[in-house]
Amino acid sequence: MAGLETSASGPLSALARRQYAALAWMQARMFVNSLRTRRGSFELGARIVTFLLFALLAIGPAVGMGIGAYFLVSGGHLRSLAVPLWILALMWQFFSALAPALAGQNPDLSHLLRFPVSFGSWLLLYLMYGVVAPSSLIGMLWTAAIGIGVLSAHPEAWAWVALTLAVFAFFNLLLSRMILAWIERWMAQRRSREIVTGIFLLVALCAQVFNPAFHQHRRGMPYGLTRGKIAQLGYRIWRVEKVLPPGVAAESIAESISHDSPQKVENLSWLGAWVVAAAGLLVVRLRSESRGENLSEAPKRAAAVRDRAQGYGWLDFSGPVAAVFEKDLRYLMRSGPMLYGLASPLVMVFLFGSTARSAPGRLGAMRMEYALPLGLVWAFLGLTRLISNNLGTEGQGIQFYFLSPTPLRTVVLGKNALHLSLFLLEALLIGIMVVVRFGPPSLSVAAISLAWIAFAVPANLAAGNTLSIAMPYRVNLARMSREQGAVGNGLLSMLTQFGIVAIGALVVVPCALMGHPWLAVPVLLLLAAVAGIVYWRVLAGVDHRIAARMESLTREVAKAGATG
C-alpha cells in the first residue's frame, strides 16, 4: 500500500485535491490534444464566437439592470430591488432549463465511480461544471451589475450587499443545477417522462388561458376584477413574494442600507434556508447517482413476458428505410434529453407566443399577421440538433451501417423521413396554436407558409446531411450534455437556419410591403425546386462522402463506452 493516500477523503482532503488536479490536467490535455486536428481548432473558434455572441446578449441587460438598481436605490425605492432580482432569478433558471445551448454541460460523472472519489468531491465537481455554464456566467454577470448599481448609490453598505448577492447567486446556481439534475432523472424513465410532459402541457395551457384573458380586457378588468380586488391580490402576492429568495434578498439589502441590523440578518438567514433547501434536493439526487444508480427501463420479468406475448412493434413494416425510421423513432422515444430538446421550442412558443399581440404599431400588426410562418420557423429549432447531426446517436452501432449491404443513402433517407415527419407534427401543433390564438391566417399567408416549408425542408435536410457527415459528434442519449464538436456543429447549423429564414424574409417582406404578398409564393416555389435538386444531389453523394470519412466518423460517433 506504499504511496497510497489513506487519510480522510472529504471534498478538500489531500486526496480530493489531487483528484481535482488530475481531472483539471485531463481536461487541459484533452483540450490541447483536440487542437491537433482542424476540427478541434474549428471547435475552439466556434466556442470563441459563441462566447462573444452570448457576451453581447448578456452585456446589454446587465447594464440595464445595473442602472435600474442604481436608480431604484438612490430614489429610495429599496424594496423594489426585488424586481431586477426576480428578473435575474427567472432568466437564470429559464435559460438553464429551457435553452440547452445556455445550460452548459450537465456532467456525466459516472466514470468517476471506479475511483475513490468522496460524495463531497462529487458534488463539488458537479457544481463546478455548473459555474462555467453560460446561463450561470450570464446570471453572475447580472448579479454583479445589480451589485455595482446598488453600491454606486450606497457604497457604505458594500460588505452586506456583496454577501447577500453572493448568497443569492449561489442559491440560483444550486437551484439551476438541482432542476437540471431532477429533470434529467425524470426524463430517464418512461412513466416519470409522461408525468413531466403532462405537467409541462398543463402549465403551458394555463399560460395560454391566462394571457388572452388579460389581453382581451386591456381596457377593462378581466374576470370581473376591480381596482380594490387587484390591490388585495397585489398585497397577497407581496406577502408571499417577500419570503421567496428574490424577496428576502431585496429585503436584506434594503435593511442593510437603512441600517436595521437584526432584520437584515433575519432576511439573510431566510436566504440561507433557501440555499439549504436547494442544496438538500440536489444532494438527494446526486447521492443516488454517486452510488451508481441504474435508470434501466427493464420491467419485472413477469410483465416483460406478457409484453412479449402481445407482439412486436407498431411500425413493423418492411424495408431498410422503414427499419431506420422505426429504429430512430424508438431511440427518440427512449431518450429524455432528445425529447426535451424537441419539445422546448414548442413550449417556448406556447409560453411566449402571446407577446406578439402586445407589440405596438405596424410591426406588431405584421407579427400577428405572419404569426404562422414565424411559428413554423420555431418548429425547425427543436429539430436542429437531430437534422444537423443525424449519425450522432448511433454510438458503436454506426459500424453496423458500414458492414450492412444497405447503401448509406438509404439509411440517411430513413432518418430524413423521420425528421420530416417530426417537423410536420411540430408544424401542425404550432399551426393549431396560432389559429387558436390569432385566428386563421389569410389565404396568402397560408400559401406563403406552405411555399416556405417546401423550400426550407429540403434546404435544411441537405445542409443537415452535409453537416452530419462533415462535423459529427457523439450524442449522449441519457444526459443533457454537450460533447466535443457540438459547439462548432451547432453554430454552423444555426447559421444555416438563419440563412434559410433570411432568404424567406428577403422574398416575403418586400412583396408584403409592396402590398402583393402573393408574389412571394412562386418565388419561394422556385427556390423550393432548387433546394429539392440540391437535396437529391447531396443524398446521391452520401455513400461516397461517408466512405471517404468512415474512419473519422467512427472515431467521433463511436467513442469508447458508447453503445448508442
Binding site: 416483460a304 409484453d307 424508438r330 446517436t393 459500424q399 458492414l403 450492412s404 453503445t563 448508442g564
Partner: protein, 279 residues
C-alpha cells in the same frame, strides 16, 4: 455468374494488403487465402495489426493498397454484394444500445433485406438459442458484456452469411454459452461456411481452427494448417528448453511464443522481479 464465382473461388483472398496511418504502417503487405469451409484463426500480439486487417477485410477500413476478394468478388468493386455474403462481429460489437435485443435483430434482418416473416422467425430462434429471450424489454445498453457479445454474434448470422468474421467472439462469454457457440460455429463450417476468427485465447483457437495465420508488427509471419506450423516450428527448435518431450505435440501457445518471440517463462519471471512492490 455470382453463384459460379462463389463455388470456385477461395472464401477470402487478400493480396499485398497494406494500411498506413501517416508514417506508421499497421499492416504491411499481408497476403493470405482462406478456403471455403475453413475455420481460420488469425493470431498476433497486441498492436500487431489483427483488428486493422479484419477491418479491411470487412469493409470497415479502406486499405492503403492491396486487393481483397471475398468468395471471388472484389470488395472494392462489389461492396454491397460482398456484404450480403458476410457476417461480422467487430471489435466494438456495432450494437444499438437503445434497442431491445429483439428490436435490434429485427432491425438487422431488415437491413440485410430479409422479409418480415423470416426476420421474425430467425429472431425468435436466435434469441432462444443464445438464451437472450428471458428479458425481452431490457435495452441492449443494460446487457452484460457477455450478453452483448452473444447478441452481436446473433446479429452477425441472422442473414445466413457464407463467411463469418469474428473479432474476439468468446471474450466475456460464460463457459456454458461459449460451448454452445462453439458447437454452432462448428456446425456452420460443416455446412460450408467459412469462419475467420481472432482470439487471444489460444486454447480455443487450437481446438476450433484447422488453419492459423500469425501476424506480428504488421507482417504475416506464419500461415498454414496447425500441423504445418507445428512441424515448421519443431524443425527450427535447437535448444533443450524448447525441445518437446518425445511423442508430445507442441501446443499453439508454444508455437505462438516461438514465432513472435515472447521470451518464455524466464523473461516473465525477470519482469515480475521489477514489480516487487506488488502484494
Amino acid at each position: 455468374m455470382l453463384s459460379c464465382l462463389l463455388m470456385d473461388s477461395p472464401a477470402i483472398a487478400a493480396r499485398a494488403l497494406t494500411r498506413r496511418f501517416g508514417e506508421f504502417t499497421a499492416v504491411d503487405g499481408v497476403t493470405l487465402t482462406v478456403a471455403p469451409g475453413q475455420f481460420f484463426g488469425f493470431l498476433g500480439p497486441n498492436g500487431a495489426g489483427k483488428s486493422t486487417t479484419i477491418k479491411m477485410l470487412t469493409g470497415l477500413l479502406a486499405p492503403t493498397s492491396g486487393q481483397i476478394q471475398i468468395l471471388g468478388l472484389d470488395f472494392s468493386d462489389h461492396p454491397l454484394e460482398v456484404k450480403r455474403q458476410i457476417g461480422v462481429v467487430p471489435e466494438g460489437l456495432a450494437l444499438f444500445g437503445r434497442l431491445t435485443a429483439s428490436e435490434y435483430l429485427r432491425f438487422v434482418g431488415r437491413m440485410y433485406g430479409l422479409d418480415r416473416p423470416t426476420t421474425n422467425r430467425r429472431t425468435e430462434e436466435l434469441l432462444d438459442f443464445m438464451n437472450l429471450s428471458s428479458e425481452p424489454r431490457k435495452l441492449v445498453t443494460d446487457f452484460s458484456h457477455g450478453m452483448q457479445k452473444k447478441l452481436a454474434l446473433a446479429a452477425a448470422v441472422i442473414h445466413g452469411p457464407r463467411v463469418l468474421f469474428l473479432d474476439e467472439p468468446f471474450e466475456g462469454v460464460d463457459a456454458i454459452a461459449a460451448g454452445t457457440l462453439k458447437a454452432m460455429l462448428q456446425r456452420m463450417t460443416e455446412r460450408g461456411a467459412t469462419i475467420f476468427l481472432t482470439s487471444h485465447v489460444l486454447e480455443i483457437v487450437e481446438r476450433l481452427c484447422s488453419h492459423v495465420a500469425i501476424i506480428h508488427q504488421g507482417q504475416l509471419v506464419a500461415n498454414g494448417s496447425l500441423e504445418e506450423l507445428r512441424s515448421g516450428v519443431a524443425a527450427s527448435l535447437t535448444g533443450p528448453q524448447f525441445s518437446p518431450q518425445s511423442g508430445e505435440k507442441l501446443t499453439l501457445e508454444e508455437i505462438f511464443l516461438r514465432i513472435v518471440g515472447g521470451g518464455g517463462p524466464a523473461a516473465n519471471e525477470e519482469a515480475l522481479q521489477e514489480l516487487s512492490w506488488l502484494a
